[in-house]
């Protein structure tokens, strides 16, 4: 089995696995810079309009945001456990944990959706669509736009991560992964942790601003 999965250009499986991990880490680094650009935009505008930003993000529900943080951290924990067990060959447990993490991802999206619905109701929409009359000054619109854009982009990553988690859960059940082969599972886990890390920063920036 393991001889088959060694690609011709590698000498040992260990090197091949190292290559896969390193590649994933580099992809994640690149992905982080994608958010990094938006963090720079956030910092720049927050420096220019400190009070407007606070005002803009004032009506974000801290309770819902914190709930989401807990949900996402817990899902990250279950993924980490899953990766841990696949190394020990307990693939059914891994599949269950990954399915649970996918479910947590779903909960996260539902909560996010409730928040979005609330914002749409208030007309606190991004960019030119903004018409939330109670908060007129210039910087507020930027704050709301950034909130929408960054959380929506993060949401897309959550969806992508959920698809991958679900796929890995199914493949685990089918016996594709186990002690002999787990780097792909690890890499999907890494991706999900990145989604978590991004949220760990989004949460204080958009919810704990009062």
């Amino acid at each position: 089995m393991s001889a088959q999965r060694l690609a011709e250009q590698f000498e040992t499986l260990e090197k091949q696995d190292h290559a896969a991990r390193l590649g994933m880490w580099m992809f994640l680094g690149s992905e982080t810079l994608l958010f990094g650009a938006l963090f720079a935009v956030y910092a720049y505008y927050r420096g220019m309009y400190p009070s407007e930003f606070v005002q803009a993000l004032h009506h974000n529900s801290v309770a819902l945001g914190t709930t989401n943080t807990v949900v996402l951290i817990t899902s990250s924990f279950t993924v980490a456990l899953g990766v841990h067990f696949v190394r020990e060959g307990k693939t059914r447990l891994t599949a269950a944990l990954f399915a649970l993490s996918t479910l947590f991802g779903g909960v996260f999206l539902v909560v996010k959706g409730i928040e979005y619905a609330h914002h749409i109701h208030e007309n606190a929409l991004p960019g030119g669509m903004y018409s939330f009359v109670e908060q007129p000054p210039a910087g507020v619109v930027l704050g709301i736009t950034l909130y929408w854009f960054m959380t929506a982009l993060h949401g897309l990553h959550v969806i992508a991560g959920m698809i991958m988690l679900a796929a890995v859960a199914v493949l685990c059940l089918k016996g594709r992964y186990g002690t002999h082969r787990f780097v792909a599972v690890e890499n999907v886990g890494l991706y999900w942790h990145l989604v978590d890390v991004v949220w760990i920063f989004l949460w204080p920036l958009f919810y704990l601003t009062d």
Binding site: L22, G36, F149
Partner: protein, 555 residues
Amino acid sequence: MSQATIDADTRPGALGVGAEHPDYLRADSGLRSWLLTKDHKRIALMFYVGVILFLGLGGTFALVLRTELLTPEQTFIDANTYNQMFTLHGITMVWLFMIPAIPTVFGNFVLPIMLGAKDLAFPRVNLASFYVYVLSAIILLGAMLAGGADTGWTFYVPYSTTSPTAVTWMGIGIFVNGISSIMTSVNFIVTTHTLRAKGLSWHRMPLFVWASYGTSIIILFATPVLGMSLLLIAIDHTFGLSLFNPRFGGDPVLFQHLFWFYSHPAVYIMILPAFGVISEVVCSFSHNKPASYRAIAYSSLGIAFVGFFTWGHHMFVAGLSEFDAGVFGALSMFVAIFSAIKVFTWVATLRGGSISFATPMLYFLWFLFLFVFGGMTGVAVATQSLDVHWHDTYFVVAHFHFIMVGGTLTAFLAAAHYWFPKMFGRLYDERVGLLTSVAVFIGFVFTFLPQFLLGNGGMPRRYFTYPERYQWLNVLSTGGAWLLGAGLILALGNLLVALKWGKRAGPNPWGSRSFEWITASPPSKHNFEETPEIERSAYEYTLSEEVARERAKAR
């Protein structure tokens, strides 16, 4: 002088590693075997065709621009077409030619062989990278036909968000192109880490690998920022995201920060592989080890790193705070030092060598002049009070064309000639090669030296019409551009002719000690049967060729 000085390897039996197998060009046949290949060499050739096509397209745009500028008023196209042309010239040349050119063609081809590997670490990702590149090219070409763009390749807001042209699709095309670059760079870094041959420690690697490594690091960390800023433009253009819109308190200068955070390092994405090529060419033709291996290797990493600190020097008059301007101005000076170290080391490498004077070496000589001049004018434009006058004039245009064309394109041509025998197993005509090289140089100098003077005179860039006092310099520049174009076509023709009628080349026509010359020319499909065992560095010219071959055991 030309043929005699090349020690063509004519000894019988010395056909290079893997000569008993069919070479990679003949190993499989049929369209499928090309389009779905995972062989890094075939993917490199497909990229080769792509970048040459886009060099032709971008060059055509450039000739149209130069011809239009023959007279102070309208010559033969209208202002709108002109504005489209320089935008498309920039986009095509930067993202479809310059950035992929050396890494995806020569990097893809020789990097794994240099490391003694059978392929890159992720062959499928490599193929995907090619198709993503093709996709981005299709999107960009489609956008060109469906309205084009007239924003300049810099996409400055708020103009780009209000321009009625296909800015959205241009943005998306470049975003997709970035994904292709990132895929290639991940592949290069991982390959360098995991697929080095036995005994090939970091300090034995050819210098081209170091340069590619540095380039890949820049691509990896800078490209996403460009992707994000262009995505913001695209969304703004279509849906009115307005993140940079002054109406809502947005600051257009912020976009410039994000754009140049990528686009300044992008200059090093374009020039670092050229440095790698030049390092190889210099050592191979002067039969000398680099005067200081570590100086060249580490300065590649130094440039990659410090290149990230200097983007603000594009914005001295853009409304940047004086504090930031001062910081960026000072940091900009550091990059020049790394480049200077490289240049001096190359020149020192020539000393005491045994130099054969072939076409790549002539290109090296041009490179030396053009790059040093272009580079030092770069330091000049990073000097703040001077930049106030020069910013956005033809001086800047001339400066970066000295780096991009005089540096990267010259190195690309040097590489095309240097690795031609390895890639296709034949030798090009040396005399025609030298002649076209001279034509390219003279054409180049006539095109861009007058532009320095135009910039001094105050002619702004992107001008469709201009005051009459600038005309004679513009005429000179246009004439030079035609000569440059002709030289490039001749160089390409020379290589195409050699493809079929060139003399057969041995595995090592230049007598180089670098590892890609161990294999047969052209290499077999798997490059090596087994991972080679390397017991020497890539530049052991003190050893005789036989000993050198023995110390790099390969089968």
